[in-house]
Subunit: 355 residues, 2 copies
């Protein structure tokens, strides 16, 4: 029996509410498909920051290193500035483990009520491949003239050849492997003078290695409009750290809720543990009430199974999610228009996995 050591970081807010549901579903999948898990819990969070002044211990990365994968809930808490909490936990993990791909499916699941008209399940079905290690998320920069009228802040973005090429190549390989025919590049080379023309240049260079795939590039402004006007058009959309971030919230928004959307922070070379987390945040506005949608966390766990090579179990979890959402008496959480609680929906998925 395969056995995986999983580091579990529930984090803050609804992260701590949806995580138990994902673990329950994983246990069910384990029994059904013959996979064993050892979960190790880490209380790294804003709560911890308030107590200790650190989001995670100084040797946090080392503590995670031996695991097969990391399952993360959500990080963020009123009172702790976001850039403190995120650069103290989420972003260092992504970088230290060189999880340079952030892979995010956008799919209209059954049971969702999309804000767009005339869409039925299966209709909207594409992937956002987001660069996850450099780009606009950068600590390079600073402030000058603090407190004076001449005060200014400079913020650098960094696009390396290595970083750009590897994410573009991943997107093309992913498209080929999954029989997706169109790769769309998100750019803004008409306004952002240095980095985006370079992104385009590399996109065209890498595209030449994949003559069997179609390509297009769209400026991010009009691309967001097209996500709403013709979401059925897309297959694989590749973007920088920031553009991928935006598109992978907007895409699920177009399907009706970001509460169901998963993400995988992947080191495709399997040198380090990869990390799986829902797209949604810690949602302080609904935290503590037990009504958060656990599907984003559960689907993230399914992506983890895929990544670990337990593809049958991963597919089983996703099929269970779809069958529960499609059933007439699905216990839907409030964001899906229902009145069920987090544990009702999580329990239903776990039962469907086992069945």
């Amino acid at each position: 029996m395969e056995r995986f050591e999983i580091a579990v970081i529930p984090g803050d807010g609804i992260g701590t509410e949806v995580m138990p549901e994902a673990l329950r579903v994983l246990e069910a999948a384990g029994s059904r498909y013959g996979v064993e898990f050892a979960f190790r819990d880490f209380d790294w969070s804003c709560e911890r920051y308030k107590r200790t002044g650190r989001m995670m211990p100084e040797d946090g990365i080392e503590q995670l290193r031996g695991h097969d994968a990391i399952l993360l809930g959500a990080v963020g808490y009123p009172g702790v500035p976001d850039h403190v909490s995120l650069w103290g936990l989420l972003i260092p993990i992504r970088r230290e483990f060189d999880q340079y791909v952030n892979l995010r499916p956008v799919r209209l699941l059954p049971g969702l009520t999309p804000p767009v008209r005339d869409a039925s399940p299966g209709d909207i079905d594409f992937w956002v491949v987001r660069e996850n290690s450099e780009g606009e998320y950068s600590m390079l920069g600073g402030r000058q003239g603090e407190g004076t009228p001449g005060e200014m802040v400079m913020q650098a973005s960094v696009f390396t050849r290595r970083g750009t090429d590897r994410i573009l190549r991943y997107a093309f390989e992913f498209a080929r492997r999954n029989r997706r025919s169109l790769v769309t590049s998100a750019t803004k080379s008409n306004g952002i003078y240095h980095s985006m023309p370079y992104w385009d240049e590399r996109f065209h260079a890498i595209a030449e290695e994949y003559p069997d795939l179609s390509t297009e590039q769209e400026h991010i402004d009009i691309l967001t409009a097209k996500f709403v006007l013709r979401p059925r058009h897309f297959d694989v959309v590749v973007g920088s750290n920031l553009f991928g971030d935006i598109l992978s919230d907007l895409g699920p928004g177009v399907t009706g809720t970001i509460g169901v959307a998963p993400s995988a922070n992947i080191d495709p070379e399997h040198r380090h543990p990869s990390m799986f987390e829902p797209v949604h945040g810690s949602a302080p506005d609904i935290a503590g009430r037990g009504v958060a949608n656990p599907i984003g966390q559960i689907w993230s766990a399914a992506m983890m199974l895929d990544h670990l090579g337990a593809a049958e179990a991963g597919a089983g979890v996703l099929a269970a999610v779809e069958s529960v959402l499609a059933s007439a008496d699905a216990p839907l959480t409030p964001d899906l228009g229902g009145t069920a609680r987090t544990a009702d929906l999580g329990g239903a998925v776990a039962a469907a996995v086992a069945a």
Copy 2:
């Protein structure tokens, strides 16, 4: 009779097709409301670039300086890299004339078929106030190690105290003047380490001067999702150059088409001519066929009238647009689901203005 000197730059692609319709509507508004226009035409464009190596002559800015306003079509052309054409014309005009506000209404007009469900005209009605002079659109940066595996590009964004404060203050003043009660700030301070926390800091500081207005801030990723999920929520949304750019395409996308959306590049202090242009681009895919939607250009002309103080004429043009679009036999262009031509729709609006 008031008389305005208007610099007219049709530009490229459909810019040259929609501009004549805007001029026709302006003439009609002039006769009706007692305003006179002297239009001076400039052939600055990618076409000109191909002939002369420059988008505009070296003294282009000087040639424009004496005018009361600038009406621009669209710039961009296959074969001329976008960053060459835009940084050779549009962006220098915005900057040399310190048009630091880019004001863009998002309104569901009658006759539009929005991709979102259950929306009727008037429902979606808000404004994007975009910073237009600095931020992510910057020529600071460059490439190192060209052609080597260590190649990298650095791109700087610049946020000055002066630039940040003046756009935020404009947004609050605009909200107060127009009885809008909510100002939403677009940020990404959880990921972009220096510039966005600074943006938040200034937003909170300026907000204190406007205790009568409500405020909120949203990270750009989830904000784009909310544009789709609850577009009725917004009143005034203020963002950086890039975020404002994205939101002001997405917003009109949510109303059904960006073909109708106008924009005003404003120097609020009236030291320099302001510039009015549709949000859409030169659209090489449909250029030359006479089917482009002229409403974005016409509505931009209406915003120009407002800015020039000819408010009655401006309101008259917008009312004409709304009444034409609302009429049962409106000559709608293909993007609106009809079969009419650019000149049919422009002519109908001109006739409605005169009536």
